[in-house]
Symmetry: C2
Subunit: 336 residues, 2 copies
DNA sequence: TTGTAAGCGTTATCAC
DNA sequence: GTGATAACGCTTACAA
């Protein structure tokens, strides 16, 4: 019962037909007698034939595979996106490779080479580096790809799907300022990624419109790795930093900050009002009512798949995709 | 600049050498002159050669790919495991396919066929069905695999890595009973999966030891899909179900239950004490101090990769892996 | 309606 | 040291 994989050749020998006939029969080609098709299909099932997509891919040049390159699937934001992407892709008979880069340059490069080497038909990538250099490798190799969540200003040629980060940053900050928080701490992501820079633009615009100054010491970059935020917030509390509003680059950071605030006996929103980004609460019901900027992960994921498939299926199309999906602020108790 | 993929043949033509020599030079084989190796490697870099793993795989029979089949990467529990698995696998130069089954039979079967068809070298799967039938397909096709998180009592031949679910269920329940909660609601996972059955065994043992009866109406199965739990807990609250302790099959369910309790104005732990399972808090700092059973996801993931690689590299080994990783109860404020 | 031959890009084997 | 040849399992084109 246990065994080697059954090949077309095995079926051919057993059936006394040529490999070719078997292949065509299994694909239900018209030019094979109906009766033969039936016999062969039954035999295939009986022998547990599964087929070697590899060999077919080598010939056809298509692997029906998409690589998804993100910094970290353990972050629910990416976990949710990867799930949605996989789901969309599966509908079109595509399988996905998932590669984490941990936001590191070298890993991103390796991920890209791995994907190309495995002959994926397309790539959906959330780039983590400032330079577009790594991504250019894809262009050079003629691999269809689309950026998700981040973009490169200097490369208008790269297709992308992002959310309106500037608006999100603006809405979150404005809400805090409107609620009387004159000093809003911004725990931002690394400056090298576009979404962090654009959210900061929004943060600045809100201050400008409110006629309030932006103090540099309230804008702090936190690393992507879990735990980093805790140290920083601890430090801020201990040196009694002056702020009452807190806007975080993403929900994970916001949670972590609120976690530390709670540990120190502060209450949210009474002592500190907190706003996150990603609105993970829409998919995971956490018993902490975090106000957050919603960026329609589902929509972004679906568009990314559509775009990359479009590029796979229309390699000569010169169409460009630069999609910015709307963001909205979802208010909950963390900023009551 | 944009272009077709460069092949060994292209390099060979350019260099005036045979395809074979190029191949061996790139792999740093001793039998190629050092100078030639250098020239060729430089040329490869210059021309942007990436190599077609597909073709190599067809020949070697190895794809350096592992499929990871889980119900849902958007659940942080799986997101974290997939991340850990990817990381371990990457260290050994393996890439992972991720396929979600949404806990559905048909999708699980499809996932398995897809994985086999893509010639993965091995599979790590968290099976979602009662019957081991689908998994047997793997045996039949001779694909090395290991179960993670769940097992089949009737198939002692399947290797697995699980956590001590019975003990986890026992510890959580005992803790609640010890704290005076005579009626402990158990929001369990579907009975068709082994971990749910074993956690229930633990729940029962704790009651037995405490000399308390187990009431059937306190054991409720909740679906895997987010949102399901909310309806159920709402219903329980509205018909004033009699319980003060709550043990959930996983943290996601526990959060969701606590979420609803909070919405109804109840406090945790003053009104209801809540214990989860998975201890996601160890990786994600949520500002809700949920007591939870820790199951060492990192250890499980790592072992699963080690085992599947071992099976890939020693196809004839008859060694059997049945690993049960210890569980511990981590106390936090949700059960103070 | 079915079979034959070539080829996809590599790697393994053996000869030069 | 390097090159020629076959092979991996399948598909496409064409012949029978």
């Amino acid at each position: 019962m246990e065994g080697k994989k059954v090949t077309l050749r095995d079926l051919a020998l057993k059936a006394g037909l040529s490999v070719n006939t078997i292949s065509r029969a299994l694909k239900d080609k018209e030019d094979i007698a109906l009766s033969t098709r039936k016999t062969i299909k039954d035999l295939a099932k009986e022998m547990g034939y599964v087929g070697n997509a590899l060999a077919g891919s080598l010939r056809s040049g298509l692997t029906k595979t998409i690589a998804v390159i993100v910094s970290d699937v353990a972050n629910p934001h990416f976990g949710i996106m990867v799930k949605d992407i996989e789901k969309s892709a599966r509908k079109h008979n595509y399988t996905i490779f998932v590669i984490n880069t941990e936001d590191e340059h070298e890993m991103e490069e390796r991920a890209i080479y791995t994907a190309i080497g495995k002959n994926v038909d397309g790539i959906i990538i959330c780039p983590s580096q400032r330079s577009a250099e790594t991504i250019r490798i894809l262009k050079k190799n003629g691999v269809p790809f689309v950026l998700i969540g981040r973009r490169f200003e200097e490369e208008p040629d790269f297709d992308y799907v992002i959310c309106d980060d500037e608006k999100g940053g603006y809405l979150a900050t404005k809400h805090l300022l409107d609620n009387g928080h004159k000093r809003v701490l911004f725990l931002n992501g690394p400056d090298r990624i576009s979404s962090a820079r654009e959210r900061l633009d929004g943060y600045r615009r809100a201050h400008r419109e409110a006629g309030l100054p932006v103090s540099g010491e309230l804008i702090i970059e936190v690393g992507a790795s879990a735990g980093d935020t805790r140290q920083i917030v601890k430090g801020l509390i201990e040196r009694k930093a002056d702020f009452t509003g807190l806007f975080a680059f993403n929900d994970v950071i916001a949670w972590e900050a609120a976690y530390v605030l709670q540990k120190y006996g502060f209450r949210v929103p009474e002592d500190y009002a907190v706003v996150g980004f990603d609105n993970i609460q829409s998919r995971l019901f956490i018993p902490f009512q975090l106000s957050s900027v919603s960026n329609s992960k589902g929509k972004m994921s679906k568009r990314a798949v559509d775009i990359v498939l479009h590029k796979i299926n229309h390699p000569d199309s010169r169409e460009r995709f630069r999609e910015v999906i709307d963001t909205t602020l979802i208010l909950r108790e963390s900023t009551k």
